[in-house]
């Protein structure tokens, strides 16, 4: 076996059987990080001591004959937007440089309870605002498929850590595609669970009505196992759904789409989508048909306005959420020389601590919420949000899942779009509708675009609390492709 290339479920079995220790697996990943991360820059912070101590505890539990969970002892990369007690947590921003949270996020508590080993914190666009990880205050992450290209964003660090074999599991967050688009451009798997399925307690908020924490891995089953470990009600998040979590692991093992009705969203392909992306998507549609699914075309006419609605709703919520970063109780404080007022110190702190994309979005949100503009911008965007949700509801009356390409293009070059916000926003065109409605969706790899040899992702979307459908369909497509290729697509990534 290969300690760094094997999947999480394989590693967990080997650890449970005593074939290898969690400490050996953890050290192998720390060594890998030491060897490649200077070039990839997936991690902002590596907690070697904490990871090894946690691995030793798992090994001791096993030696004592305690029953271990399905991912016990397996290492994971954690997006730096989740609070982890005693470890730096920056959300990719200078305003939180050096901040050490005094508590664990709910998801971190659950990872620890599942005996999953947290290797460290991964890079991201500042406060999760971006589609390329170039907006991190700590420099970009590089795509392991081509180090000159972006790994997607905002969770580019988590996706790159998986694709570079620095971790077999990762946690991301998805507000408009920040799990799915990085998965698509790195040939990894990522799921945005149903809104409210995974608690947000301890997640640094971007847009509270859109943010959702989710699992990332290199195959569908590992993603399902991680999903099961983090999902479920938590009373500390008032939007957390108090209902049983769909059995996503059983669905991933089932992998049968015979009789499943699949809707191809007319508005999410064709014009604006790269030729090779469209080609691989068409092939995935053919695979679903061969596997016994019934694929029909459906129309969601208001999706055309999803991007515009999203880029009003998100900045509005973030302008309010980020007001808490004022330099008074924690984080950066600038200009407090005794002569300045509290407002002056706040403004100087925020000017110095936030990057340009964060400032743009705060100002757009401030504008959209201001008197005289509220109805035409934020109010109208909320109405369009209703219409988009209705489009989904109507579509799911006809089909079990919807599909589209995850992103319109493969990974672009670092620097190519960084100063053109509107071009950057277009990356999210296919992923955003799901966040607006609160549905769940998966991205999984379906091949390389012929023109550039870079990964393409398939997006599968399901209704709220229909997360199991994603895994059933995703696992079926993955199995068919592995049959064809003889391995997962990630195995074709260039050696680093």
């Amino acid at each position: 076996m290969s300690l760094i290339r094997d999947n999480a479920s394989v590693l967990a079995s080997a650890i449970a059987e005593g074939e290898v220790s969690s400490e050996e697996v953890t050290r192998a990943h720390l060594d890998r990080i030491a060897a490649v991360d200077e070039r990839v820059h997936a991690f902002l912070h590596v907690d070697s001591d904490g990871a090894i101590a946690a691995a030793k505890r798992v090994d001791a539990k096993r030696a004592a004959g305690e029953k271990l969970g399905p991912l016990a002892g397996v290492p994971l990369a954690l997006k730096d937007v989740l609070a982890m007690k005693g470890q730096p947590t920056t959300a990719g921003s200078k305003i939180l440089e050096g901040w050490i949270p005094p508590y664990d996020a709910a998801v971190v508590e659950r990872l620890r309870a599942a005996d999953i080993i947290i290797l460290g914190k991964t890079n991201m666009d500042e406060f999760a605002m971006g589609s390329s990880t170039e907006h991190s205050a700590y420099g970009p992450t590089h795509n392991p498929w081509d180090l000159d290209r972006i790994p997607g964003g905002s969770g580019g660090g988590s996706a790159a850590a998986l694709a570079a074999f620095e971790a077999p599991l990762a946690i991301g967050t998805d507000t408009g595609g920040s799990i799915r688009q990085p998965a698509a451009v790195t040939a990894t798997v990522g799921v945005k669970p149903t809104y409210g399925a995974v608690p947000r307690y301890g997640l640094i908020a971007l847009a509270s009505s859109l943010d959702q924490v989710g699992p990332c891995a290199r195959n569908v089953l590992d993603t399902a196992l991680l999903h099961a470990a983090i999902a479920g009600h938590d009373a500390r998040d008032s939007t957390s759904i108090n209902a049983p979590v769909p059995d996503v692991v059983a669905a991933a093992l089932n992998a049968d789409v015979r009789g499943m009705k699949v809707g191809l969203v007319r508005e999410l392909s064709g014009a604006g989508y790269q030729a090779g992306v469209q080609q691989r998507f068409d092939e995935a549609v053919a695979i679903l048909t061969e596997l016994g699914a019934e694929v029909i075309e459906v129309s969601c006419p208001h999706f055309e306005y999803a991007l515009a609605a999203y880029y009003l709703i998100l900045p509005s919520e973030c302008s309010s959420n980020l007001a808490r970063f004022d330099g008074m109780r924690y984080g950066l404080r600038v200009g407090d020389d005794g002569s300045r007022s509290v407002e002056e110190v706040m403004a100087l702190t925020r000017e110095a601590g936030f990057g340009p994309e964060v400032k743009r979005r705060i100002m757009i949100g401030t504008y959209a919420l201001s008197s005289g503009y509220y109805d035409a911008y934020y109010g109208q965007a909320q109405k369009v949000r209703t219409l988009i949700t209705r489009d989904f509801t109507e579509a799911f009356e006809k089909v079990d899942v919807l599909i589209s390409p995850t992103a319109p293009t493969t990974a672009f070059k670092i620097g190519e779009k960084v100063d053109d916000p509107v071009a950057m926003y277009l990356n999210d065109i296919a992923t955003i509708p799901v966040n607006l409605a609160g549905n769940c969706a998966m991205s999984l790899p379906i091949g390389l675009a012929p023109e550039d040899g870079l990964p393409v992702g398939l997006q599968i979307m399901a209704p709220p609390m229909g997360d199991d459908r994603l895994y059933r369909a995703g696992a079926a497509v993955e199995a068919a492709l592995v049959d064809r290729w003889g391995h997962l697509l990630i195995e074709e990534a260039p050696a680093l």
């Binding site: 005094p102 515009a308 984080g331 705060i362 504008y367 369009v384 209703t386 219409l387 609160g438």
Partner: protein
Amino acid sequence: MTNISRADVAHLARLARLAIPEDQLDHYAEQLDVILQSVARVGEVAAADVPAMSHPVPLLNVFRDDVARPGLDREAAMAAAPAIEDDRFRVPRILDEE
């Protein structure tokens, strides 16, 4: 439909507590204008009778039982403070001198 001026950016920056330097106001004005023009498309949708949606799940106030439970101790809560005085957060003056 929009036309964001330098003065508009200065106003937004003041509302948002961002000390944007004078020499960057024009650059932000240009970018905010492009963004606002592209998102103004929401106005093309006829939605007068459509209810606004603020959240994907019904927002209900959730109460927990009124039982005392442990919280962060003072030391942990203050550990990240930029300035402390007598076990309290020290902040710059909040009132003008006069």
